[in-house]
């Protein structure tokens, strides 16, 4: 399966969206898995400032929007359920484990994404751990790492 195609949204879905008369933007949810993932992110909006007892800011709206965007475009049916958690400073943490592989994303308050891709738990795997930062607006590049997870 080409993840690029999934990431861009299926042509059928796009055509359906185009046919609607409705103007206000909304994502109709047809799969419980998608609903569950989005609900985990949306529930973070209920956390007030100092939710961690150490003075953390509220979860930032750019972090939430970017995390929602990742969930909406990710091929969730091919992935295990993610672990979603608040991160100090107002960021959102997304974590997937597929087989030996792990992908950890921290979506920052400005919409940038820090990633850490761990290929396995063995000592020799440590050398091939990859980490980096994707600039705001580059959430589409997460697709590459989700593809890597699916291939595990």
């Amino acid at each position: 399966m080409s993840l690029a195609a999934v990431w861009a949204g299926s042509p059928v879905m796009l055509r359906e969206r185009e046919r609607r008369q409705q103007w206000s933007r909304v994502n109709i949810l047809e799969k419980p898995r998608m609903l569950e993932c989005l609900r985990m992110v949306a529930d973070l909006t209920r956390l007030d400032a100092n939710w961690d007892g150490h003075g953390s800011a509220k979860i930032q709206s750019a972090a939430l929007s970017t995390a929602v965007g990742i969930m909406l475009q990710a091929p969730l049916e091919y992935l295990p359920m993610p672990h979603v958690c608040p991160v100090s400073g107002g960021s959102v943490g997304l974590h997937w484990r597929a087989g030996e592989r792990e992908l950890e994303l921290t979506v920052l308050g400005n919409g940038a994404i820090e990633y850490l891709a761990v290929p396995g738990q063995r000592l020799e795997d440590e050398a091939s751990i990859e980490e980096g930062t994707l600039s705001p607006g580059c959430a589409g590049d997460v697709g590459r790492w989700l593809q890597w997870l699916i291939e595990a």
Binding site: R20, Q22, S24, N27, I28, L29, P32, R39, L72
Partner: protein, 269 residues
């Protein structure tokens, strides 16, 4: 009369986020892509932004039948143009067989726009469109359907937390099973159609789980549509149909939603 001279149920804070009034007519055979631009030129001061979308099809008028028997050019494709006003709260959508007018709430704090306030706007722009058809000798619009749609979004946390709570939001969904086998549903969506006792109409209700990207909120989207077939294409008949459709939409919405939700939306006495 109930409140403010209005006879239909009314709410202080209804969940409506968008209203659209639409007229569907027999496909205009002489309509070409260039006419979108010519019409836009007439309304551009008020509607300075435009977008091109694919045409909406319907069972009665499939897109492929929208082509004239002999297309004017190979580029005569079934498209729909959007014309938006400056603050992007009002939209006019036009295609070969439809005229659609939308109004949406841009912010949660914005007050709800009543039909009485939207109707004159629609009337004025529909008249402009009809005049354009006449001036350009495109033939009169033979209207086959009038539509009023209210799009409502009920946020999670406002009267419901999970789909197990749906029966206390929507009275037509009982949520009960004849055995104890099934757990609570993780997701519910449905469509229902009711016959209207006037103007050969139908009332359609669609309920769908949805996610609103503007504020990252989970919502139940409840779309209520009234459709009427006018006996003739006069403006008087068209607006009687729209009024009837709107009356059914409001009463239908009130009928399928619970009194608990009416309290949350502060129904007026």
């Amino acid at each position: 009369m109930t409140s403010g001279g209005r006879t239909l149920p009314d709410f202080d804070t209804p969940p409506a986020v968008e209203t659209l009034l639409a007229v569907r007519f027999a496909p205009l055979k002489k309509w070409q892509v260039s006419h979108f631009g010519l019409f836009w030129n007439r309304i551009r001061d008020e509607y300075p932004r435009s977008e091109v979308h694919s045409a909406i099809s319907s069972v009665e008028t499939p897109v492929m039948f929208c082509f004239p028997e002999e297309p004017h050019s190979e580029f005569d494709v079934p498209i729909r143009c959007w014309f938006m006003n400056r603050n992007e709260a009002t939209l006019i959508q036009i295609q070969r067989d439809r005229f659609i007018h939308n109004w949406r709430k841009r912010e949660a704090a914005q007050s709800y726009l009543h039909y009485d306030e939207l109707r004159p706007d629609f009337q004025r722009n529909w008249a402009r469109f009809r005049e354009f058809l006449s001036v350009e000798r495109l033939g009169d619009a033979k209207v086959v359907e009038c539509e009023v749609t209210y799009i409502n979004q009920i946020e999670r946390g406002q009267g419901w937390e999970s789909f197990a709570d749906l029966p206390s939001v929507v009275t037509s969904w009982r949520g009960s099973e004849s055995t104890e086998f099934l757990p609570d549903p993780s997701l519910v969506s449905f469509n229902s159609v009711y016959p209207m006792d006037a103007r050969d109409g139908t009332l359609r209700v669609g309920l769908q789980p949805a996610f609103r990207p503007a504020d990252n909120k989970e919502v139940i989207q409840l779309t209520v549509t009234g459709l009427c077939r006018p006996a003739e294409s006069t403006d008087e008949e068209i607006f009687m149909c729209l009024d009837a459709a709107r009356s059914w939409v409001v009463q239908g919405f009130t009928g399928i939603t619970s009194s608990k939700m009416h309290q949350i939306w502060r129904q007026k006495p």
